[in-house]
Symmetry: C2
Subunit: 384 residues, 2 copies
């Protein structure tokens, strides 16, 4: 990362540790916490989102963390080392919670992760969630399903105690991985319009409802190509694309960001976990008639297989045969299949096309009929 | 593989070690080498292709092999063991030749590979071929460029001697990996039409010019979606797709095989090598105006990188910006990028779209801007 001094050399004045107190859109000026006033012709809203902190007693005592930005990460890391943490409890089994299991285990910390829901990583099929729980257990992480945190107290043998409806849990550190809430207050304060999702409404050029205001990243919406609607999808790669799009348009070029299909992935110890497009629930919500099937296949050709499994679930629209979404889990090859299927989604391909896609076959990298082909051909049988 | 007896139980009569002597298309009968005559309503030509054996003196003496089918592979394997081969020379640095380097080295056999051309794997850019030569050398395989085999003789210290225009090479075994020649004689004998490539002409349903004759696999052509023409592309996964397509149509369903984009891959020791679509030379030949660029990027996100390199070359059409082809080489991530780009080719995507494709981002699997994005955005600058 460049320092403010390095930015200054390129003609960009970066103010850190400074917040915006108010915006005066009629004057075109931003009023900062250091008392200064910055005039603007163009304003970019990149206010992001904050990590959600559970609203229970004791949620703000020392040793309770959220994890959203680098500062928070560094603070957490220092705390773990300074306090010689032996036990961690993670509240919320989404991306952040699950990824942090590995980080804690690598430091030798006894780790438990709980969720109010009966399974981790809700976007994935229960069959795949089962694999994730097994992977957690294989790495000595206990998953506590359907567990509701009620309060956090100071502990005796350990620094903290998390009170839940299923009993008390000791911990030296508690991490809340409960998703994000968008920061839209500043935008709202100058009358920028919000979308249906509650995040800032933008167009394909990242312009908001105010001509002179752009928005990018986790504070604004993005166009979802599979459903043809604007949604809230706070992911880092999307924010990058929005930032570049806004920058090009502000700089005088014409750049259109054509949207997303919902591709995402994370690593859980030795498991690749990836998904794209819609789940069945989402598909129904948006008026499709989803059919789905899970294939348990191989990530490589049969002669090269050392027993690695690849679970691939496809969701398609029954009347049209169009792919709507995919999920994959496995020690290898899950992300690469989801990337391929993301491009199929981008292009609106049908199961019939996907069943015969031309992929770079060699037994060491996949079968002559890849898991993608077999899954698509299998699901086609449910279309009729 | 099932035995003829097992096939018989399913109602299929498989005759092995039996060749077709003649076909009588008027009677609808096939005359076999065992003297029997088989009547037919539908005839499927799956005559494949043979490995090319160099036409030089001594090309057929013991210890000189080609490698096309399982029988040949088993024969080669027995020979290597029985004769305790110490030295191998491979003639031809294409797929088969390069893949066999690894097989020979794994058996501790000193291996040299030569080609009449100045570099191996001609489909790939010279920069990538250089990486392949380095990978060969790292594994104690010598590559001899621009070397013309002239004759094979019996040797003294070793079983064989290959005479070339650059000197003599000792060997216990010589393998010729020089590509294939299609077996179309039978089809020609009954007046089935050949395509421009010289292989059997088929349509999207695998029908030949004769109503009752289908053709599949390495004896027939396939539709190339990028150029919109029928070409000869003898690869195993394509043969599988053609076989299934023909089978479905013969069985009464309607199945159309929409064609290929030229996806292919092989592994060279620790290097993934993959390509799809057209090379610049092919693009020019088919009337495009190719521009291309090589990106040296990372297969994973920067914070996760352990120094693995990924070379990605894109070829696009200057006036339209459409992707025409891609090549990739690297210790990891090359095949997955080529698979993604194969689907982009399938769908006719432009560089502008590819530069912003939605891929399943996590630092452990790639950057927020993946090598695919960076390569596409880089090449876009050559369009104007």
């Amino acid at each position: 990362m460049r320092t403010p001094e390095e930015f200054k050399k390129t003609g960009v004045d970066v103010k850190i540790k400074t917040s915006v107190e108010a915006i005066n859109p009629d004057q075109g000026s931003v009023h900062l916490s250091d008392g200064s006033v910055l005039p603007y012709d163009i304003l970019v809203m990149a206010t992001g989102a904050d990590a959600i902190r559970l609203d229970i007693p004791g949620a703000d005592i020392e040793g309770v963390f959220v994890l959203r930005d680098l500062t928070q990460a560094l603070r957490l890391k220092s705390y773990v080392i300074e306090k010689s943490c032996r036990k961690a409890v993670i509240v919320g089994a989404g991306y952040i919670g699950l990824e942090m299991c590995e980080a804690f285990r690598n430091l030798g910390i006894e780790t438990q992760v709980l969720d109010i829901l009966p399974r981790p990583a809700l976007r994935w099929d229960p069959e795949f969630a089962k694999l994730m729980v097994e992977e957690l257990e294989r790495n000595q992480v206990a998953f506590l399903p359907s567990t509701k945190p009620l309060a956090i107290e100071k502990g005796k043998d350990f620094a903290l105690k998390l009170i839940t409806d299923k009993g008390d849990l000791d911990a030296d550190i508690i991490l809340m991985g409960l998703g994000t809430k968008r920061n839209t207050k500043l935008a709202e304060s100058i009358g920028v319009q919000m979308g249906e999702s509650g995040a800032i409404k933008v167009d394909f050029f990242q312009r908001t409802s105010r001509d002179e205001v752009y928005a990018v990243g986790d504070c604004c919406e993005v166009f979802h190509r599979v459903i043809g609607k604007w949604v809230y999808y706070p992911l880092g790669d999307i924010a990058n694309k929005q930032g570049r799009t806004a920058g090009q348009n502000i700089g005088g070029a014409v750049a259109k960001f054509a949207g997303i299909v919902g591709a995402q992935s994370f690593k859980l110890f030795n498991l690749e976990v990836a998904a794209t497009g819609l789940t069945e629930e989402e598909a129904e919500k948006y008026g499709f008639q989803p059919v789905s099937a899970i294939l348990w296949g191989l990530p490589v050709g049969r002669p090269m297989s050392r027993g690695e499994k690849l679970g691939l679930k496809l969701v398609a629209d029954k009347p049209t045969g169009r792919l709507l979404g995919a999920q994959a889990v496995g020690e290898m090859g899950a992300v690469s299949r989801i990337n391929s299927l993301s491009i199929a989604l981008w292009s609106g391909l049908t199961l019939e096309e996907i069943g015969y896609l031309d992929l770079a076959y060699a037994p060491v990298f996949g079968g002559a009929w890849d898991a993608i082909h077999i899954a698509a051909q299998g699901l086609m049988r449910k279309l009729t």
